[in-house]
């Protein structure tokens, strides 16, 4: 091997290699910059929502419901879906200027249908289920279906849950109301449970003076009062003094949407707020239960 410094050809090869390295570094830097720009655009640029785009493109909002939860969704004599939720979904679709397409799916498959992209939304007496909030998005509640306290029309001194101590409380035997009443009795042993065969009979007991209060789900209570039952629902005052429906167990109904549908979510939220502000939600409650809530 010859001794001494590098040959000319070796120096040229070295220079060429350095040049290639420089180009590689420059290309990598360019790539990083491009990636950063892309990420920034994704973060602050306009949100893309293929669900909302499809709704706009096809003029159709695909909504799943299980038509076996009257009066929220059921089938009429001709097999068409009707009910509170059908009217609600129609009102939203109408605001957007698109058609409503109802897909009948069993309740247990509703969230999966949204997750799998088979439908755009679920409007189906669907309670809020925070345990699935990583998989799907939920709107704010549009109806409270939980357990309420029903009182006689005339003031009987019950202004809060604590006032049930020592009172007679009617419930449907074996129901969720019964379970809750047994829980209250553990707290106030002098609370007397009046078991009845049906929820309607428990509510009648209040009107008849057999019981001081009844526990029932909000829907049953509204239907009873809407049907002429001389009773009212326990309310508690808000900080501003306005009455708020008291729920012993809350069961809020919500609209379910895909997680990656930010525009659709915002549009549903805006529509629900507008329908509430315009009194349309109250009108739907009155249509399907005979009375607006809270009475």
């Amino acid at each position: 091997m010859p001794k001494g410094g590098p040959t000319a050809s070796f120096r040229a090869a070295l220079a060429q290699r350095r040049s290639r390295q420089l180009w590689a570094v420059a290309a990598a830097a360019l790539l990083v910059v491009a990636l950063l720009v892309f990420l920034l655009w994704r973060a602050v640029g306009p949100a893309r929502d293929r669900y909302w785009e499809r709704i706009q493109r096809t003029g159709e909002w695909r909504v799943a419901m299980d038509p076996s939860f009257p009066p929220f969704e059921m089938l009429d004599a001709e097999g068409r879906p009707i009910g509170f939720d059908v009217d609600l979904a129609s009102a939203i679709a109408q605001r957007w200027g698109v058609a409503l397409r109802v897909e009948s799916i069993g309740f247990d498959g509703l969230l999966d249908a949204v997750w799998a992209g088979k439908v755009d939304s679920v409007v189906s007496a669907m309670p809020l289920q925070p345990q699935f909030s990583r998989d799907v998005a939920f709107s704010s509640p549009y109806f409270e279906a939980g357990l309420v306290v029903v009182l006689p029309s005339a003031d009987n001194g019950v202004a809060g849950l604590e006032d049930l101590a020592g009172r007679r409380v009617a419930v449907e035997w074996g129901s969720e109301a019964d379970v809750q009443a047994r829980g209250l009795r553990r707290r106030w042993p002098d609370l007397q449970i009046v078991p009845k065969e049906t929820a309607a009979a428990a509510l009648e007991a209040v009107v008849a003076g057999e019981a001081d209060a009844a526990l029932a789900d909000h829907v049953t209570a509204l239907q009873f009062i809407g049907g002429g039952g001389q009773a009212r629902l326990l309310t508690v005052p808000e900080p501003d003094g306005s009455p708020r429906l008291f729920t012993l167990v809350s069961d809020p109904y919500v609209v379910v949407m895909p997680k990656r549908a930010p525009v659709l979510q915002a549009q549903v939220e805006a529509a629900l707020q507008a329908l509430a502000a315009e009194g349309i939600l109250d009108a739907l409650t009155e249509k399907w239960f005979g009375v607006a809530s809270p009475p």
Binding site: S68, F69, P70, F72, M74, I105, G106, F107, D108, G109, D112, A116, A125, M126, P127, L128, Q129, Q131, E172, W173, G174, S175, E176, D178, V179, R182, G183, E197, T198, A199, D217, V219, T220, D251
Partner: protein, 381 residues
Amino acid sequence: MLRAPSQSPVPATRLGRRALPVLGLLAAALLAAASVPRPRLDAGPPQTVISVNPKMGVHTRLTDEVEEWKIKRTLEMVREMGASWVVEYFPWAYVEPDRPGQGEWEHNDMVIRHASAQGLKVIARLGFVPHWARPRDTTPLYLDANGYDDFAEYVYRFVARYRGRIVGIIVWNEPNLSLEWGYRPVDPAGYVEMLRVVYPRAKEADPDIVVFAGALAPTLAPPGTEWGMNDLVYLQAMYDAGAAPYFDALAIHAYGGKFPPDDPADPETINFARAELLREIMVRNGDGHKPAMITEGGWNDHPRWARAVRPGQRILYTVRAYQKVLEEWDWCLAFAPWAFRYPAPARTYQDYFTFVTSDFQPKPIYLAVQAYAQGRSDGEF
């Protein structure tokens, strides 16, 4: 009491020298503690179920129950209700989440240990596919023929591990629903192929294990429906595809809908007695010698669901169903209604199937069933 560094009564160098052996001992103690298995909750002395009806069972839902004391309490309450059988789900993906043979058995071990201590007979439902055993973008309920061998190996490991402590296994769940078949069109022959691969491995692990097939969802789905296949049609299609040699017993889902347990069986109706129609298909296909078991079923008492009954009816129907299985269905091993308790409220109509609330409050139906099991008909439920 904590001291600020400047208040230390000992110079830092001396502190360091004194602290070294202490720190060393602490580290050694920590290492030792880490290598010692977590203390297990005492399962207690072996218990026996006392009941007038040995065919009483219930489907528990301990899959996502994290705390061991809750698993123990649930199974204690099952025994105290008078049920001898439990059906429980043991998802494959929980045991082998990342690779075959991974062996995350701790939770399953807990359930089996406490069930055994309570004197309960366990039927294990197996399914729920880990990501590595199925194509990308499929659900955990998707398993095609490429994954059957992997599933069979899991079944082998499961049955071998719990040999002598479980009575049977249920291979898959409701394969006649598209949802439960990974959102594919349902395929009775494909399910039979799964049984053909799984059955011999289960028997290799324990020749006495009872392999249950079916667990079909009761449905009146008309032919060609995207979402599922009529369970009666599906079972016959299973036999047509050669299922008979690959199961020992049929798992039946018998939901009563709005009908009482004595409502007669009718192919056009979903009711409790529909189980008899599935039984007839077994007999027609030469399987009359095999037993069946109702591994899901019962009634729901949601206030609005169209297929629910009143809570009082649910209580009476459930007790009558237990009686019926004991007195009239000699081919039926047990009735295990869905579902004893959920780890957390589902917040849907599903909560209205349960016997006990998530916080262990017995519902009136629990107390009524318990009274029946104890031969009591008086007193408040």
